[in-house]
């Protein structure tokens, strides 16, 4: 007997055409959340934008697509409406992105914030007038007020919300992201090839700081022949990936490839320094947590939820993500073996605290409070 059925609404788990699964942090989050709900005895069904296709996300977990594409003011009222109507068969709802809870929600519902995602200068052009900005905020306010709880992966989002609408903090539950400490662990053996390897384990997008990281790699590999850079992650489209392949081929000691999630633990074990130089749109990054769990020397930017994970000079370095700051930080860790080791040890120690089991307990508590 199940405790009831949970409907989860998201924008894209697959591309809208249903052909390419999106391997991102949010998608992995969705998978773990689904597994947890099943463990707790709930039935689960997902909905997303699409042409009407239907798939199975996990055995017994259908993923329906809703042919509604229109979005305005950064909300999707028609998707929301279709879900509301189709979800008559479910008892509880999770709005997997906060703005999907506009304008109406199931009574017993939770929404999820994966971090502030509009904190980059060109967002201004998306909502270019004062009137539009006000309307967007008004809708977000309604979206925040609908669900009984908002689970936020970082405190930055909660702080932004409470500095914009004080009192809203009552809605929020801070549940930082997780890492599987059994999968991600430090390398047992020390490498003795004299190389220092630097990893950029993110999607190749501007907000993740790919341009700054690539420039830093060019500068540093020219200067030191024992430094190696590994860019490991997919781009949004094939052309960009091809361009990365061409670019890395031109530079000795710079490599580009991508790996399936299950192969990532080995990638981390093979490197000394990991870069998380996000310029915006960042929560408590899974990549950052994985790098910490692997005991790497982490260089992160001070954006979004990263200051929830890294204390500068304690378990990593927190910098403003510019080329020169990256170069300086990489040099500092590359030359200073002791510092790198100390930061790496503390990173692993702190990562213990973000273990998957704890994340599940925190979520189970919120679920038991709302889904009853």
């Amino acid at each position: 007997m199940t405790k009831g059925k949970v409907g989860i609404l998201t924008t894209n788990y697959y591309n809208p055409d249903g052909n390419r699964i999106i391997y991102g942090g949010a998608e992995r989050y969705g998978l773990e959340l689904t597994k947890l709900l099943l463990e707790l005895g709930y039935g689960v069904a997902w909905w997303q934008v699409g042409t009407g296709w239907q798939k199975e996300m996990l055995r017994g977990v259908p993923l329906y697509s809703i042919p509604e594409t229109g979005d305005n003011f950064q909300t999707c009222p028609r998707l929301n409406q279709s879900f509301y109507e189709q979800a008559v068969q479910v008892d509880f709802a999770i709005y997997f992105v906060t703005f999907l809870a506009y304008p109406q929600v199931l009574e017993k519902s939770i929404s999820v914030s994966h971090g502030i995602f509009w904190d980059y200068p060109s967002f201004d052009a998306v909502i270019p007038t004062e009137e539009l900005r006000r309307e967007r905020l008004r809708r977000l306010w309604l979206a925040f007020n609908g669900p009984q709880k908002i689970v936020s992966v970082d405190t930055a989002t909660i702080q932004w919300a409470t500095t914009t609408w004080p009192g809203l903090w009552h809605k929020f539950e801070y549940i930082p992201n997780f890492v599987d400490l059994n999968l991600f662990s430090p390398s047992e053996r020390e490498r003795k090839d004299g190389k220092i390897r630097v990893l950029f384990p993110r999607r190749l997008t501007s907000v993740r700081g790919i341009n700054e990281a690539a420039r830093a790699a060019e500068i540093l590999t020219k200067k030191y022949d024992y430094l190696e850079f590994h860019f490991v992650g997919r781009a949004h489209d094939d052309n960009l990936e091809k361009e990365m392949v061409r670019w890395s081929a031109k530079h000795p000691n710079i490599y580009y490839y991508w790996k399936a999630p299950q192969d990532m633990p080995k990638v981390y074990q093979n490197v000394d320094i990991v870069l998380i130089p996000s310029k915006s749109t960042e929560g408590t990054s899974l990549s950052c947590l994985e790098a910490m769990a692997a005991g790497c020397g982490v260089i992160a930017s001070y954006v979004g939820g990263l200051p929830n994970l890294i204390i500068d000079g304690y378990n990593g370095l927190l910098i403003r993500p510019t080329v020169s700051n990256l170069v300086a930080a990489i040099e500092e860790l590359a030359f200073n073996h002791d510092l790198r080791n100390r930061l790496g040890r503390k990173a692993r120690e702190v990562a213990d605290n973000f273990n998957l089991e704890k994340w599940k307990r925190s979520w189970a508590k919120v679920i038991s409070e709302v889904f009853k």
Partner: protein, 369 residues
């Protein structure tokens, strides 16, 4: 290091408005530390502040000028300060609509308008006030990443002018007690008597805990900035059944290290308006088990269940956290150990070297090592 240059620090009140007493608070401590550093670097420093009349005093060899115009208009006083100074450093963000001098540095001590009582108009004014500082000054130094994140969510381009230097703690002065004995548990509240600091949260929860746990005592280490609040609290304390297990006092800064050393648990129950709190850092450095709310810059200091417990500002959550710490000495010890070790990352030396770089860059003239 030698440099030539002059810095005029503009601060609301480093001394009381009559110029006779020192004001104690986080901003003021911050300014005195900055003055020390700037003078060691060879800068000539003076201070300009609001006054009840025009006066000039010298404290620790520093000229401090009070501007009596402030009794009529702090904005007019500020204009006069601008007229009497060259390069300026603003100790906090200006709340009045005056313009900043160009080429100056402004210090942000964290967001302050996140109170439940803030109205929409007030909030948009405060975002405007922050935007103005970022537009007009050369650089805004923020004591936490929270201010930066909030501003970046609203004005991402201007946020690039923010540089973060977290607050510091003198880890030699604030250090753990050699050994704490196991039987009794002392819970300390080391903050100002102010609603924003959550004193009511502490008292309400503390009383419940006292009633439930006979081995617990409370310690209030509070200010005396507003004596009527102290007498109010004293009267209230007299009425409490558990009065004999509540220690209450106001201490000089010099005595605070021993106050922390005598505590097992320190509570930082801030409701709003918080940066990287000195009290929280001092509690960490003193090897106490810290319970802190997830407000403002505190989230940059405390990693939940690693070096403290991070809770929302609510009685239930605080009660649960305290009960847990009281009943689990092992957890308390682990948090305390990791508290001390994280505090070492907020050293005074690091804070000084970050500021030294900024002072040289913005006010430097020439400098050599």
């Amino acid at each position: 290091m030698f440099t030539e240059g002059k810095i005029s620090i503009l601060v609301p009140n480093l001394l009381s408005w009559d110029g006779k007493g020192l004001v104690t608070g986080g901003v003021e401590r911050y300014v005195w530390q900055l003055i020390d550093l700037a003078r060691e670097m060879g800068f000539v420093v003076d201070v300009h502040q609001n006054g009840d009349s025009d006066w000039q005093r010298e404290v620790n060899g520093i000229v401090i000028r009070g501007y009596g115009l402030a009794t009529i208009s702090t904005e007019a006083a500020l204009q006069e300060m601008h007229y009497c100074t060259e390069k300026v450093l603003y100790a906090s963000i200006l709340l009045n609509p005056a313009a900043y001098k160009s080429g100056s540095v402004v210090i942000s001590h964290g967001v302050w308008w996140d109170s439940e009582g803030s109205t929409g108009d007030y909030i948009s004014d405060m975002f405007h006030v922050c935007g103005k500082a970022l537009q007009e000054a050369e650089l805004v130094v923020s004591c936490d990443y929270n201010f930066l994140n909030v501003i970046r969510a609203v004005q991402p381009l201007l946020a690039q002018k923010i540089e973060v230097i977290p607050n510091f703690v003198d880890v030699n002065v604030f250090s753990p007690a050699p050994e704490r004995d196991g039987d009794t548990v002392s819970i300390l509240f080391p903050r100002r008597l102010d609603y924003c600091r959550g004193v009511d949260l502490f008292l309400q929860t503390g009383l419940e805990i006292l009633a439930a746990c006979p081995n617990v005592s409370l310690h209030l280490a509070v200010d005396r900035n507003y004596p009527h609040l102290n007498s109010q609290l004293e009267r209230w304390l007299q009425q409490q059944e558990q009065r004999e297990r509540i220690v209450y006092g106001s201490y000089s800064f010099e005595r605070m290290p021993e106050v922390y050393r005598s505590a097992d648990i320190v509570v930082i129950p801030t409701r709003f308006s918080e940066g990287t709190s000195f009290s929280c850092l001092e509690a960490l450095a003193s090897g106490c088990a810290v319970v802190s709310t997830d407000v403002g810059g505190l989230t940059n200091l405390i990693i939940d269940e690693y070096n403290g417990l991070l809770i929302p500002p609510a009685v239930e959550a605080l009660k649960k956290a305290l009960s847990r710490l009281i009943s689990e000495p092992g957890l308390r010890q682990r948090l305390a150990k990791q508290a001390r070790s994280t505090a070492l990352a907020f050293s005074h030396r690091k804070w000084r070297s970050r500021w030294a770089e900024i002072l040289t860059r913005i006010y430097g003239g020439r400098s050599c090592k």
